[in-house]
Amino acid sequence: MGLIHKVKRYKFLYVLLSGALIWTLVFCYVPMLGIVMSFQDFNIFKGFFGSDFVGFKHFVTIFTDPVFLKAIGNTLLYNSVILFLGFPLPIILALLFNELRGVFFKRAVQTISYLPYFLSWISVVALFYAFFEMDGPFNDLKVMIFGEQIERTNILMDPDNFLGILFWSHIWKNVGWSSVIFLAAIASIDSQLYEAAVMDGAGRWKQVLYITIPGIWPTAMIIFILSSGSLVSSNFEQVFGFQNLYTMEQTQVVNTVVYKLGVQQGNYSLATAFGLAQGVVSFLIVYVVNIITKKFSNIGIW
């Protein structure tokens, strides 16, 4: 069958595909050209072609100005805590789910644990605000345990708590749902391995240690590589949602600074440069982590 004939035969498929192609061109490739702005003093009236080129001026600002450095530091701190401390928790939860014997109980707990994942971040923020309010359940509980003399405080108003709030709200929202993929990995382990282990006298703990954990290890590595890029890109919805007048100044991250500079203050060039630096570093991290894990465990995403 000739190429032209084939193209003709499949013309309906090209029509189907064209929507996605045009969309990708307009909404993904055209904005990529906007990266040019980060090397300009972009003026919206002069446009891309009329604005003056300034080279790496904005990047120098980003890596010398204390406000930006603070945002970079916060981003790295928050995300490394969430990545490294948060990463094992869904795996542990999946292992615990797997040890539950009652089918109905297991299903009920799993279903409940998935709930927060389907809520928007702003709903989670709203629920946290209500929970930690002065007269809210958290302070009620504190008074119940320690008595009336204990002071009622709103922990969301203290910048020192911000990291903890980000971490635990991330866990609260995602830990249940993140365990699904590990449960799937556990389910795909050959049951003969367990039978053989029982014959050899392995207890439940030994089975977990020598069969289940090695069985889900490749899945865990891939998830880790994929999420390593998040080290430099915060979840804007989460951070922006939890910021308030009392904590905002000290808890800025790259994404919130980009929003503030670009959308609120119209400083497009500087904001684009900051976003670009973040994107490049994020890609490099995934690339390097992939090389490292490939070297040590032969598991990689490409």
């Binding site: 498929l13 969309w23 359940p137």
Partner: protein, 298 residues
């Protein structure tokens, strides 16, 4: 099977842990449900747990008497419907074409579509693009930017490729064209994965609030999630709601308003999350299916 004492102890601890997990997950939500159904003035005395002490619909009456709130629900529902339909068209169409292994140019198209998952211009170039396309303060800014998701396309494609090729071959022998094969055979057969992608799109559209934050300043285009953001984070909107409720008399006759910011917030949170909370237990199997298909691809 021999059950050792240590295993029994572990089982008990595991079950207790699971119960705690349920409490921690559900309590904040049930608490807000109770507050939303409790008389606002009574809530101030504190101590509401998971059931209302003085039952009252007044908080819901207050939020629903606010025209902006009702408009935002309509906007949210409309964008979920329009956005999901458009997304399904683009994603399914592309997936069906890409699934065809001998489509001329296929590798180039996949490459073209995958590149943006690695590199993006970021928020600000997007912002300027939408400005130039006159999408600012336009309903379409909710629909168009989320109309195609590469990952969902891969999921549908993976599913389509797992169907036995003999189905399609026999249809071709019977004289069916590509359009007939897609609508009569492929889509009916891939209902489970279509349901998954439909739900993902619908949830993403319902939950999105940053589109309003970035691109919308006109009040009658706010989505419900953005109204919730305003209610929780800014005093302005909540005051307006309470004043309008006092004027229309919904807040409890002439003496005084019996709603408080806390109770109005609670009612807003419940309305904004109720569709998801009530539906997800019945739909979770579709979401899980999507994770499984995605994992196979990896």
């Amino acid at each position: 099977m021999i059950r050792h004492k240590s295993e029994r102890i572990f089982n008990v601890i595991n079950i207790i842990f699971m119960l705690l997990l349920c409490v921690v997950t559900l309590y904040p939500y049930l608490n807000q449900l109770a507050v939303s159904l409790n008389d606002g003035k009574d809530t101030i005395f504190g101590g509401i747990t998971i059931y209302p002490r003085e039952f009252s619909w007044v908080n819901y009456a207050t939020v629903f008497s606010n025209s902006g709130f009702v408009t935002s629900i309509i906007v949210s529902v409309l964008r979920v419907l329009a956005g999901t339909v458009l997304g399904l068209l683009l994603i399914t169409g592309a997936a069906y074409a890409i699934a065809k292994k001998d489509l001329p140019g296929r590798n180039f198209f996949v490459f073209f579509l995958i590149i943006p998952t690695f590199i993006s211009g970021g928020l600000i170039p997007m912002y300027i693009l939408y400005k130039n396309l006159h999408l600012m303060n336009h309903f379409l800014v909710y629909i168009l930017p989320m109309a195609f998701v590469f990952y969902y396309m891969i999921i549908i494609r993976t599913y389509l490729q797992s169907l036995p090729p003999s189905l399609e071959e026999s249809a071709v022998i019977d004289g069916a064209n590509e359009m007939q094969i897609l609508f009569r055979i492929m889509i009916p057969l891939s209902m489970p994965v279509m349901a998954t992608v439909t739900l993902w799109l619908a949830v993403a559209h319902w939950n999105d609030w940053t589109s309003s934050l970035y691109f919308i300043t006109k009040k009658d285009l706010f989505t419900l999630q953005y109204v919730m953001y305003k209610v929780v984070k800014e005093a302005e909107l909540i005051n307006e709601m309470m004043v309008s409720s006092a004027m229309t008399g919904n807040g409890g006759s002439a003496q005084q308003v019996s709603v408080t910011p806390e109770s109005v917030k609670a009612a807003t949170i419940i309305v904004a999350t109720l569709p998801i909370v009530t539906l997800y237990p019945f739909l979770q199997k579709y979401f899980i299916k999507g994770v499984m298909i995605g994992a196979v691809k990896e």
